[in-house]
Symmetry: C2
Subunit: 185 residues, 2 copies
DNA sequence: ACAGCCATGTAACTTGTTACATGATTTT
DNA sequence: AAAATCATGTAACAAGTTACATGGCTGT
């Protein structure tokens, strides 16, 4: 992801590391502070993969990096591929609720209640923030958080409802007599 | 996350690697196939961190792992901490749209349109899937995807709207004369 | 002189992940 | 006899991230 960001920033003209950090944070309205070390590690990985190339230094002796042809086509690909995160990523919350129900480590309703409390608190925070923000970038961030928090709260309601169904819940229980072999050690 | 899952599964009784994989996939309704290698790597990392402990073999010579006290308290912590992913994670889609607008690598409206198309297609898929699913676990998965896809579509509408505002968009443009020093190489 | 920003870089670590090597047992 | 499943493990890589070492330049 940072790869894509750096390639984007380099697409118009060669730049040096620190400037990439500054520009990145300007664009993300400092919502995503970028550790400067990460810029350099990512840059060297990009160079290793021949997506950028080092081209000497500028007037102030700062090493400049230039995007290569391979880098440009990689960048193009990045923009063309829709983001898959929602479908792909293993959702930690779903996993937690399922595991809680299946293993009885704790009551899944507690997990749900816990998460709901936190999500509602955040939703409140961001709703207030929304009223005070005029900045375009921050608005995009905040609005995204609000929309997904609302989705999460709806999901939590559903999960709770389903959990109330004892039968469904039982279907999750692990049969602890592994493989039906009856070796209860 | 897999750490938490394995610890949960081990919380009731010692188990061997392969069984952990089988149980994990049973719980997640195979929606998240778990590479068996990952179970072993995660197990050895857990052992290194003293969250689990190897305790000989079972009757069929399979090495058993047991959760430790430290592991139990880690697990408890995992369940108590609400999932932060929404707030914390750098959202790739937001980043893409912002970068597109700021660097002119491509038209942010294209990125938005592209993503919307994909999201709508997926939403359709999952909506159909929902009608045919009776399984509890799959229902949780599917419903989560649907809710977040809807949120994403709403966000895309908003982003498009905001992007139409030329002034806002200009505020994103990077001043290419770095540091106002006027060294246009 | 010293604080603080500008700037580069390396080492190390985490989590997730896949590919490969290896072999036993079970089913067809 | 061959294929599938059960089972363990290692090596290696990707991406994200932090901590540390280093030094110049600027303002007070």
């Amino acid at each position: 992801m940072i790869k894509g960001a750096l390639l984007s920033l380099l697409s118009k003209q060669p730049k040096y590391g620190y400037l990439l950090k500054v520009e990145f944070e300007k664009i993300t309205a400092s919502a995503w502070p970028l550790n400067i070390g990460q810029v350099y590690t990512t840059l060297s990985r990009l160079e290793r993969d021949e997506l950028v190339r080092s081209i000497g230094e500028d007037s102030e002796a700062r090493p400049l990096y230039e995007i290569t042809e391979a880098g440009k086509s990689e960048l193009k690909k990045w923009y063309q591929q829709p983001v898959e995160r929602i479908a792909t990523s293993r959702d930690e919350l779903t996993l937690k609720v399922l595991l809680a129900a299946a293993t009885n480590v704790c009551d899944p309703e507690d997990t749900i209640a816990n998460q709901r409390q936190q999500s509602m608190r955040k939703l409140q925070e961001y709703t207030i923030e929304r009223r005070t923000t005029t900045d375009f970038t921050e608005q995009l961030h905040t609005e995204r958080l609000i929309l997904h928090l609302k989705a999460e709260l709806q999901w939590l309601d559903l999960a709770e409802e389903l959990m109330a169904n004892t039968q469904a819940r039982e279907s999750l229980q692990l049969t602890l007599n592994k493989k039906e072999k009856g070796n209860n050690d």
